[in-house]
C-alpha cells in the first residue's frame, strides 16, 4: 500500500494524466487507514519479495550501463592490440604511405585518405539530394504520396551493405567504365581529378554508391527536422508571400540548422564506417592518387581484405591500429551528431 502512494505523476496539481508525461517521486503521508489500529487486524499481506524492486531496478540499470561499457571495452581492446604498431612507428604511422608487408613497414595514410575522400564524395552528392528529398516530402508532396515515397526512401537503408557491393561491382561499375568515365575523362581530362584509365571501380564509384547508402539516413532525419519547425513560423512567412523555396531557405533551414547538421554528421558517420560496399568497388590499392578514377582503399576495406591473411604480429597490430583510427573518427562524428540532434530536440520540446 505504502509503495503505491509514492509514484504520482506530474505533481499534485489538477492536471489529468497525459501519456508519456514524467512520473515524479512524491512523498506521501500514510493514509488514515494505515495508521488506524484496525489495520493490523485486517491482516494486510506482506509483500512476497521485499527486495525485488531494488534488485529489478539494479538489474535493468546494469543492463543499461552495459552499452557504454561496451564502447569503452571496444576502445580499450583496440588500443591494447594496436600499441605494438604505434610503438614501432610512432605518430608517423598516420602520415606514412608505405604499406609493405615484406619489409614490415606500415602506414595509415592511404587508408585514411581513401576513407576521407570516398566519404567526402558521398557527402557532396548525398547532402543536396537529401535536403531536396526532405523538402519534397514535407512541403511539396500530398500526405499519402509523402508517406509512400518516404517509406520507400527509408527502404534504401534496409538493404544490406553487401547487396550494394554486389550491385556496385556487377552492374554499376561496368556502366561507369563504359559510359560515364570515358565521357568525364574526355571533357574534364585536363584536371588530374579525371585522368587515368576508366576502370569502372575506384574512388568515384565508391563515393557514388556510398552516397546512395547514406541518402536515406540524412533525408529521414532532415525530414523530421523540417516537420518539427512550428507551422506557425512557416505560415507567417507564407502569409507574407514567400515562395516555398524562400520559406525553406530563409525560415526552415536556419531554424533547423542544428538538426540538419546533426543529420549530416549521422550520414557522415555511416559513410566512414561502410565496409562491404566499398570493399567491392574501391579497387584495393594502397596508393594515394589524385585521380577519382584511380583505385584506392579505405580503412574498412583494408581490414576486410587483409585481416585473415595478416601473419606477423606487427601486420595484425597495424591493421588493428587502422581500426582504432576509424573507431576514433567515427566515435567523434557520432558524438557530435548526437549532441547536435539532442540540442535541437531539447530546444524544441520547450516550445516556441
Amino acid at each position: 500500500m505504502a509503495l503505491g502512494g509514492r509514484y504520482l505523476q506530474g505533481g499534485l496539481g489538477g492536471h489529468p494524466p497525459h501519456d508519456g508525461q514524467r512520473m515524479k517521486k512524491v512523498l506521501t503521508l500514510p493514509t488514515a487507514l494505515e495508521t488506524s489500529p484496525d489495520f493490523a487486524r485486517i491482516g494486510v499481506r506482506k509483500k512476497p519479495f521485499p527486495k525485488a524492486d531494488p534488485f529489478f531496478r539494479g538489474l535493468t540499470a546494469s543492463c543499461a550501463v552495459l552499452v557504454p561499457l561496451l564502447i569503452a571495452a571496444i576502445f580499450s581492446e583496440l588500443l591494447h592490440y594496436s600499441l605494438p604498431a604505434f610503438k614501432k612507428f610512432g605518430l608517423s604511422f598516420l602520415i606514412s604511405q608505405e604499406w609493405n608487408p615484406v619489409t614490415g613497414q606500415f602506414g595509415a595514410a592511404s587508408s585514411i585518405f581513401g576513407t576521407l575522400v570516398s566519404t567526402f564524395i558521398a557527402m557532396i552528392i548525398a547532402v543536396p539530394l537529401s535536403l531536396a528529398i526532405a523538402l519534397f516530402l514535407v512541403e511539396l508532396a500530398p500526405p499519402k504520396l509523402s508517406r509512400a515515397v518516404g517509406t520507400m526512401i527509408e527502404l534504401l537503408a534496409a538493404i544490406p551493405s553487401i547487396i550494394y557491393g554486389m550491385w556496385g561491382l556487377f552492374v554499376f561499375a561496368p556502366l561507369m567504365a563504359r559510359y560515364v568515365q570515358p565521357v568525364l575523362g574526355h571533357y574534364l581530362g585536363v584536371l588530374p581529378l579525371f585522368q587515368g584509365p576508366p576502370l569502372g571501380i575506384g574512388m568515384l564509384t565508391a563515393g557514388i554508391i556510398l552516397a546512395v547508402m547514406i541518402l536515406p539516413f540524412i533525408s529521414a532525419v532532415t525530414r523530421d527536422v523540417f516537420q518539427l519547425v512550428p507551422p506557425v513560423v512557416k505560415e507567417s512567412a507564407f502569409g507574407l508571400g514567400a515562395t516555398t523555396w524562400e520559406v525553406t531557405f530563409k525560415v526552415t533551414i536556419p531554424y533547423g540548422l542544428v538538426g540538419i547538421i546533426g543529420a549530416c554528421f549521422l550520414g557522415l558517420g555511416r559513410a566512414l564506417g561502410e565496409t562491404m560496399a566499398v570493399t567491392f568497388v574501391i579497387g584495393n590499392s594502397h596508393r594515394i592518387s589524385a585521380s577519382l578514377f584511380a583505385p584506392g582503399n579505405s580503412i574498412a576495406s583494408a581490414l576486410a581484405n587483409e585481416f585473415t591473411e595478416a601473419t606477423e604480429p606487427l601486420y595484425i597490430s597495424s591493421l588493428i591500429a587502422l581500426g582504432l583510427i576509424l573507431f576514433v573518427i567515427t566515435w567523434t562524428v557520432q558524438v557530435i551528431s548526437q549532441i547536435l540532434l539532442r540540442r535541437m530536440y531539447r530546444a524544441w520540446s520547450v516550445g516556441l
Binding site: P101, V102, A173, N284, T308, E309, A310
Partner: protein, 350 residues
Amino acid sequence: MKRFAFLALVSTILLVLSGLAGAQEIALNGAGATFPFPVYSQWAFKYAQLTGVKINYQAIGSGGGIAQIKAKTVDFGGTDEPLKPEDLKESGLAQFPMVMGGVVPIVNLSGLGANQLRLDAETLAGIFLGKITRWNDPAIQKLNPEIKLPEVAITVAHRTDGSGTTYIFTHYLSQVSPEWKEKVGTGKAVKWLAKASVGGKGNAGVAGQVQSIAGAIGYVEYAYAFQNKIPTVKLQNKAGKFVEPNLETFQAAAAHADWEKAPPGFGLMLTHQPGEASWPIVGATWILMHKNQPEADKAKALLKFFDWCYKNGDKMAKELHYVPLPDNLVKMVEAYWTKEIKAKGKPVWP
C-alpha cells in the same frame, strides 16, 4: 513471456546438442593457399563421397594458412611459400609438398585469345614495375610483330592478401630481373609499384579483376585461367623458347626438380627451370601440420586423406593442369611422415 522462454530453452538445448554432436564426427579443418584450391576442393568432395570424412579447406591465402596453423586454429595449413627449416623447427611444424602447378599471366585485351600474346622476362617485369604502361609499348610490340596492339592503358591486377602465388611470381621476377629484385623483392605481399593497379583477394579475386577490366594483366594459378577461359600469354623460358602454359610445360619444368637435394621440409622453388619445354613459373604447394599431434585418430585420418590424394588424385589433378608428385617423392614424403609426425611419442603413419 512463457512462450518466449520455452522457445529459448528449446533452441539452447538444440544448440548444445549440436555442439556435442560436433565433437564426435571427424571433420578436419584446413586453411591456406588459394593456389591449389580448385584441386583440393575436388579431392575433398570426392573423398567425402567415398569415405564420409569431411575435409573443410578455406582458401584464404598462404599467409592466412601459415598464421592459422601456427595459432593451432586449424588442423592443417596450405602454403605456396615454403617455410625455412629454422622456422619449421621453431614452430614445431612438418611441411611436405602436395601438388605442383603453374602460375600464369592473364590478360584482358579485346580480340586477343589464349596464348597469342608473347612476353619475356624483361617486359613482364617492366609491366609489373609500372615502367611499361600501354599495351602498344614498343617493347611489347617488338615481341609480337604479327599483332596490332591497341593503345590501351595497362592495369596491373595483384593480390591484396598474403599470397603464396605472389611469392612464386615475385620469386621468378627477382631471378630474371635485377631491377625487380632491387626495387620490390620476393614475398607473399609486396609493394606494387605500378601506378594503375588494382587488388584482388585470392587467386579468384585477381581472376575476377582481370575479367572485368579491359586492358588488365594479372597472375594466377593456371586452373583459374583454365576454368574461367581467361586468356593466358606465352612466356620466354630460360632456354630462350616461348612456351604456352599447360600440363606438359609444367611437367617439363617439374621434372628438373631434384627433391633429394631439398632442405628439410621439402622447400624447393621450381621457377626459372632449364629445359626447352619448361614453363618458367612453376611452383609446388605445401601442407603444414604440427609435428606433435594431440589426437592420433585425427592425425591419421588427415594423413590417410593426403595418401589417397597422392595415390588416386592424379587424374583429377591433371584435368585441371596440376602436376601430381612423382612416385619417388611420394615415398620420401611418407617416410618423412613416419619420422616426424607423432602423437604421444608414437609415429602416426602408417
